[in-house]
Symmetry: C2
Subunit: 272 residues, 2 copies
């Protein structure tokens, strides 16, 4: 792991950082190929929106990209986690008067996921944890991720790659670390994320490339989908072959997006 804190080759961070005290910050998990991040504009856009919502000063985004790319330019495939916190603060929730945000970059080589995932699809389960509705935080990739930690802790079977999370009103929202799309009655759908969930950059890229409806999706609708796939900036377009005991085919929409992801350099393998 290669780590930089505020530009220094340092793997430590002050214990008073509000990122640790309160989860007061945001992160991005960016896939780099030989130092280039094809989805960077979308990561930058989401990060800037989140920083504005949390009222944290934004870093120089060009310098941030250069720093992140420089950390992994010798690696064929790497993931850089970029965290921006509100920095150190006095005790208490009140915003510091003169906050100095903390910038943490963590880069590591990331071998591609198994080819089988892309060709055969993955098995996923339905998690019992239900995401809380909080419009003020919805969509952001913030550092308050205990729901995802607890959902991912619901299973240990290595044959289950992901878990699907719903809200308390009976809708499916996302996987623990990926967004979800489904073709239902011939229409591409993805859950609305205005009350919970993280608005992923791969999801945004799919929405820019396909005509999809963004709306609430019930579990019943999901279970009668013609095809389901997950999207992730790191893993790309991953078909779902089974949700618990219900099996699904890998479909044409999934295949066509996989080919586009390959062309972008975002994914090694594809089915179809």
């Amino acid at each position: 792991m290669r780590i930089r804190v505020n530009g220094e080759a340092c793997a430590q961070l002050p214990a008073q950082d509000r990122g640790l005290l309160y989860g007061d910050g945001l992160f991005e998990t960016v896939l780099f190929r030989q130092g280039n991040a094809p989805l960077w504009p979308r990561h930058a856009e989401r990060l800037l929106q989140g920083l504005a919502r949390l009222r944290i000063a934004a870093p120089d985004m060009d310098a941030l990209l250069a720093e992140a790319g420089g950390l992994c330019s010798d690696l064929d495939r790497a993931v850089v986690r970029i965290s921006i916190t509100r920095g150190s603060g006095e005790r208490g929730y009140a915003l510091p008067l003169q906050p100095v945000p903390t910038r943490i970059l963590m880069a590591a080589a990331a071998p591609p996921p198994p080819r089988d995932w892309y060709v055969q699809g993955i098995r996923v389960r339905c998690c019992s944890l239900q995401l809380a509705a909080q419009p003020v935080l919805a969509g952001m990739k913030h550092l308050n991720r205990l729901e995802q930690v607890l959902a991912r802790a619901e299973w240990t079977d290595a044959a289950i790659v992901e878990g699907l999370l719903g809200d308390r009103e009976g809708h499916v929202v996302s996987a623990t670390a990926a967004n979800l799309f489904a073709c239902v009655d011939g229409q591409l759908l993805t859950p609305a994320l205005d009350r919970c969930g993280v608005a992923g950059v791969a999801r945004a890229e799919v929405l820019a490339r396909r005509d999809a409806a963004v709306r609430n999706i019930t579990w019943e609708e999901l279970m009668r989908a013609e095809e389901i796939f997950l999207t992730s900036s790191v893993r790309g377009i991953v078909p779902v072959r089974a949700v618990d005991a219900r099996e699904f085919a890998v479909g044409a929409m999934t295949h066509s997006l996989q080919r586009e992801w390959q062309a972008l350099g975002l994914q090694e393998s594809a089915g179809g």
Copy 2:
């Protein structure tokens, strides 16, 4: 600030700590008088319950108390924040196979709040942010505190000491950093915290000393209360003199609890 990380006189912590990556941990904010913490058994109980719910291994609680008290035994009045995180982990939400929790203690002298707060009461406001309902996390003092940060950021007027938070169903839940009690129609009430909020140790101490109903409380009920007070392990029993424009008297229940808090060494000042 005196800081210990895993027993070492160190003010830094690894950037890979899951406390920072995901807010994956808990904390306690403990008031010490000359190295003694009168409410320690309640802090220890809540911390142990939270660690069990998050499946984080508990530290030796006697050693933890000794370490915290030793950090501030020369201070008349000190606050020690104790944070326990799941420790460092690989990338991803899945629990580490062999987690080694991180223990962070931060101690500082804490002058008592202004005497006026206890005698005249404080002014508070109603926050627009509504707490999300998440039973899996409710009651715990976990590290995912963005809701509190954003609520506290709603005002800067120094004459407003606290902000009250409600849920999405029209109930009042707590202040940003304190619990709430109200006397309504002669009965002492405090909000149920099974869907959101932090179950404070001072609240638990009040519940052990008084016959109070723990239930949902509407804003309308709150606004016709005979008296309202906030409870906090650090600040003690703090009467509310005004919620926005509505004024309240400091009542007999508040005064009697303040005297008990003084006897416990938990509070310097009292009204009545």
